[in-house]
């Protein structure tokens, strides 16, 4: 049963296009009569369903009780990340995050920590990404003291065992060696590098940046950022809130606060890098990503952009790109577009598809046409309503479990959003008009300046990719891992 196939790959979140817009099926008239009783629920709030508590040392807690199952989960965020580091140091943060967990702690050898946690079917994990450090804990509620002890040891007292540092280095080396095995991986990596250049969002990890990392580097990195006043923790599950605060104090209360100096993160310079960038690889399917820099997450147009992109290619099946490329012409299984707004600086707009090599030109043609049409014409009422109603009606699923709720509210604060962000979210969606969708399409889509990444067997492409801009060939050198 490993071999399971789905109707659709997971895309972001539907709408008819052109001729189909005004069509009504018989079923739609029945559906209109089905009705639905009012859904009674409210967006969870701090101070109501979720408690926010700050320890004397500055550590911020978010807590939500839920006694249905005998489980407790914690998610932790630490202000750190490789975005603050220079290119040669880009791997230090990630390695620190991993070896904090695997390399043992003051009280536990690497093996004893694994043994302890796996025996109770619990987990404690740690990592550091581009814009945050994070950790997690999950245990049965009867084992909460073991889980908290392990979590506090990993966050506060990692010892960075040299053997585990070397193991992690060799794991990273192997992943670098394997990075060209999958065409999707190549396309995503090279596209990011083309649009972001040497900004941390576009950097490519090389063995040269890993091989000389020392234990001291990791110790120093940890000492720099892991202080309670730089930490947030979200807890949910089978506990009593007051008791849990006491327990956190027991394990983290004597962690002394210290000054943390986050260096300024380099800013993304907004520019485009137009052209067709081709990587030749023996494949029967072309991997295509076309796009450019998009918006920052605090952009007030993001709601209008969300609905516009839903109609263009974000709303899976009945978005225009899917409708034409997949449903009408059968050219791709996976096709769509996204406007990312998760990172702090400029995200990207991307339209992507995988199609049999000879259809590459046709797919790009449709991409261009549909992006241009989004800018030229108002979407139909039906498309607009579908996008808007989808956003409104599935909002309840953002809050359908306690661990999701506490983690969301914690991330809100971490990312610097106002605390009433979710309360106002639906109003912001409802405020978007059909005209707004066209306006943001004109403003934020740049079909003539797209960076188009194609990973394919170029000898099998039918038609001239030069129709979409100057063609540049990128030769994959193969990673250097010595």
């Amino acid at each position: 049963m490993k071999r399971i196939l789905l109707i659709a790959v997971a895309l972001i979140a539907c709408a008819n296009y052109a001729a189909a817009q005004e069509k009504r099926s018989i079923a739609s008239q029945v559906i209109d009569t089905l009705g639905s009783p009012e859904l009674k629920w409210q967006v969870p709030e701090l101070g109501k369903e979720v408690t926010r508590h700050v320890l004397a040392n500055g550590m911020i807690l978010f807590l939500m009780e839920d006694h249905e199952l005998p489980l407790i989960n914690a998610d932790v965020l630490i202000r750190a990340g490789s975005i603050y580091d220079s290119l040669p140091n880009m791997a230090v943060a990630g390695m620190t995050g991993t070896v904090m967990r695997t390399g043992g702690t003051k009280s536990f050898t690497p093996d004893s920590l694994n043994t302890l946690l796996e025996f109770i079917a619990g987990s404690v994990e740690s990592q550091i990404g581009l814009e945050s450090g994070s950790a997690s804990m999950s245990v049965m509620s009867k084992d909460i003291d073991i889980g908290m002890k392990a979590l506090s040891e990993v966050l506060r007292y990692p010892v960075f065992d040299t053997a585990k540092i070397n193991l992690e280095k060799s794991q990273i080396r192997e992943s670098i060696r394997r990075r060209d095995d999958r065409p999707g991986g190549i396309a995503a990596r090279e596209f990011a590098h083309l649009v972001y250049g040497d900004h941390p969002y576009g950097r490519i990890l090389e063995w040269d940046y890993v091989k000389n990392i020392s234990r001291d580097d990791l110790v120093r990195y940890h000492r720099e950022y892991y202080h309670p006043n730089n930490v947030m923790m979200a807890l949910s599950g089978d506990f009593d809130t007051k008791g849990m605060i006491k327990r956190v104090e027991k394990f983290f209360g004597d962690w002394e606060k210290a000054e943390v100096n986050l260096p300024p993160a380099p800013e993304v310079e907004f520019k485009t890098n137009p052209g067709i960038f081709v990587i030749d690889k023996q494949l029967t399917q072309a991997n295509i990503i076309a796009g450019h820099l998009g918006i920052k997450r605090d952009n007030p147009d993001k709601y209008a952009i969300a609905l516009m992109n839903y109609t263009l290619g974000g709303g899976s099946f009945t978005s225009r790109l899917t409708s034409r490329v997949r449903s009408d012409e059968g050219l791709a299984y996976s096709v769509g577009s996204s406007f990312s707004t998760t990172s702090r600086d400029y995200g990207t707009f991307q339209a992507s598809a995988q199609t049999k090599t000879p259809s590459s030109h046709r797919v790009l043609e449709i991409f261009k046409e549909e992006i241009a049409r989004m800018q030229r014409e108002l979407a139909s009422e039906a498309e607009f309503e579908t996008a808007r109603d989808a956003y409104i009606n599935n909002f309840v699923f953002q809050f359908d479990s306690p661990d999701e709720i506490v983690s969301r509210l914690m991330s809100l604060e971490y990312d610097g959003y106002p605390s009433d962000y979710y309360q106002k979210y639906l109003d912001n969606i409802r405020a978007v008009t059909l005209e707004d969708m066209k306006r943001v399409a004109e403003k934020y889509l740049k079909p003539d300046q797209m960076t188009i990444m194609v990973v394919a067997d170029t000898s099998k492409i039918v038609g001239d990719l030069g129709d979409f801009g100057p063609v540049k060939h990128i030769k994959l050198e193969g990673p250097k891992v010595e």
Partner: protein, 513 residues
């Protein structure tokens, strides 16, 4: 309120909650047409998840139509005579014309495959163009992807469907005020689907095959492993289907397949979330009762895989770094041997204390990744160990090291600690498995379909705790042995070795491209 997941409020505040006190308490009903319903009421969030499981998968196909179960799954999103169309009557003659051309196309393709064929592709091309023209003509009546759009517009999430060897699932999570919409659309597509846009969808599935198998090293390796391990039983062909079948399978063939297997007496529905059993039972009765059961029970899979006659070894060439997969024929789901194999998979590769991880990843550092898997299936399936070597180490070295660990486990047996660890993990898995409505609906429908009793979930822990150290030793000796194995290596194509490798000095010169 919480009559379904009981026990928790009673014991949760006690730090010493005894094991096994949480139990899923589902309610069931079988409708007069054979449709089975399993419901768990949960009130935490005003949402609910639905899984409709049809007891049909790729194992029910036959050569020539491989991939049909999966293609059919795609087709069931294309609407009915009332969903997805403005004028079904007008579509019928167009679809008949398409079918005629498609038959001619199949014959033309077959002709071009003959070594005696001397013509060009012009007949194939013009027939394809003819089908495309007719599909465009039909499009004036099609309301594109209406079923999908209606779900999303009404807040549907996790909307999708999946097909495996044993079953096909259609699933969605909805706000709890949308149950009627679900019942209307699902009953309509079970009773009266229309396979419009069939031939373009067949191309979509071919693209899916290219994406997941032809251009994906892991997917390719697994397909070849299964094909080599099975010489008779249908688990040997891929769920997505062989490429040539995807070029020729017809709409009528898939329709026939549909009528053989899609009937309420072959379907299980699981609903988990904010709903009252009586309400959902009444609603389903209203919408699904009119659908008649199939006149004949669905055909059974008669072929039994013959006993393996010795080790099989295959090389799969692909331009990627090496990988290894070893498959051993094991039993179907149910029974102590299967439970023991599940325990063995956990002993071997679950977590950082597991035997293969410790030995191959941490200590010898031969592998960058290793996994052992054992699944609950309808027919005897493979127990698979898969791994990726860490250069300069090789598939060969990993293979030897894996056999050493298996031998060690067979001779010494697992420690008490290890067995206890597996038991504790089962208990926690059980609780974690209940966290998501959709996850629970999958587990319930799976067990109801495969064993005929959702409550099997509640007995898994007990069954697996019955596995002793001696069972582990006995089962390794019985199944995880050379003459029952198929060993698959992913290797670079001849002449391309070293193309992108780090060790050019140790490998022959790259040959001509």
């Amino acid at each position: 309120m919480r009559k379904t997941i009981l026990a928790f409020l009673l014991v949760s505040l006690s730090a010493q909650a005894k094991q096994g006190e949480i139990r899923i308490d589902a309610k069931t009903h079988t409708f007069p047409n054979g449709l089975q319903l399993v419901v768990v009421e949960r009130k935490w969030s005003p949402t609910l998840s639905f899984v409709i499981r049809c007891k049909v998968g790729s194992a029910d196909e036959h050569p020539g139509i491989t991939g049909s179960a999966h293609l059919l799954e795609h087709m069931l999103f294309k609407g009915t005579s009332s969903i997805g169309t403005t004028d079904y009557e007008a579509e019928v003659p167009i679809m008949a014309k398409i079918d005629t051309l498609a038959h001619k196309l199949t014959r033309a393709i077959e002709k071009t495959r003959s070594p005696l064929y001397r013509g060009d592709m012009s007949e194939v091309d013009s027939l394809r163009a003819g089908i495309t023209r007719l599909q465009e003509e039909q499009r004036q009546y099609v309301v594109k992807d209406e079923l999908w759009e209606t779900y999303l517009k009404n807040g549907g999430t996790s909307l999708n469907a999946s097909t495996g060897n044993d079953g096909t699932q259609y699933f969605v999570s909805l706000p709890s005020n949308k149950t009627k919409l679900w019942a209307f659309m699902e009953s309509d597509r079970l009773a009266d689907p229309v396979f419009r846009e069939f031939y373009s969808e067949r191309d979509v599935v071919y693209e899916e095959r290219r994406l997941r198998t032809d251009n994906e090293p892991g997917g390719k390796l697994w397909e070849q492993l299964y094909a080599a391990a099975y010489i008779a039983h249908p688990y040997g062909w891929p769920v997505v289907g062989w490429a040539s079948d995807l070029e020729t399978v017809s709409r009528e063939e898939v329709e026939t397949f549909f009528h053989q297997y899609y009937a309420p007496n072959n379907v299980v529905i699981a609903v988990v979330g904010d709903v009252k059993f009586d309400d959902i039972e009444r609603l389903i009765a209203w919408y699904f009762n009119p659908i008649p059961p199939s006149p004949k029970p669905p055909p059974a899979v008669e072929t039994v895989e013959p006993e393996q006659q010795g080790e099989r070894r295959i090389m799969v060439e692909y331009d990627a770094q090496p990988q290894l997969a070893i498959g051993y024929h094991g039993p179907a789901g149910g029974g102590i041997d299967k439970e023991a194999l599940d325990v063995i998979a956990s002993l071997l590769s679950r977590g950082r204390t597991s035997r293969l991880y410790r030995s191959l990843v941490e200590q010898k550092q031969l592998a960058s990744y290793i996994d052992a898997s054992s699944d609950f299936t309808r027919f005897p399936d493979l127990f698979i160990i898969s791994a990726a070597p860490k250069a300069p180490h090789t598939n060969e070295e990993m293979e030897t090291a894996i056999y050493e660990e298996l031998e060690k486990l067979e001779i010494q047996g697992p420690t008490e600690w290890e067995l206890q660890r597996v038991g504790n993990q089962l208990e926690a898995d059980y609780a974690r498995g209940m966290r998501s409505n959709l996850g629970m609906a999958f587990r319930l429908s799976d067990m109801q379909a495969l064993v005929g009793d959702w409550n099997y979930i509640n007995t898994l822990k007990e069954k697996r705790e019955a596995v002793t150290a001696d069972d582990v030793k006995r089962v390794i000796a019985k199944y995880l042995v050379k003459n029952n194995s198929t060993v698959a290596y992913l290797v670079k194509p001849e002449g391309k070795a070293g193309a992108h490798t780090a060790l050019p000095q140790s490998l022959p010169e790259a040959g001509p491209k």
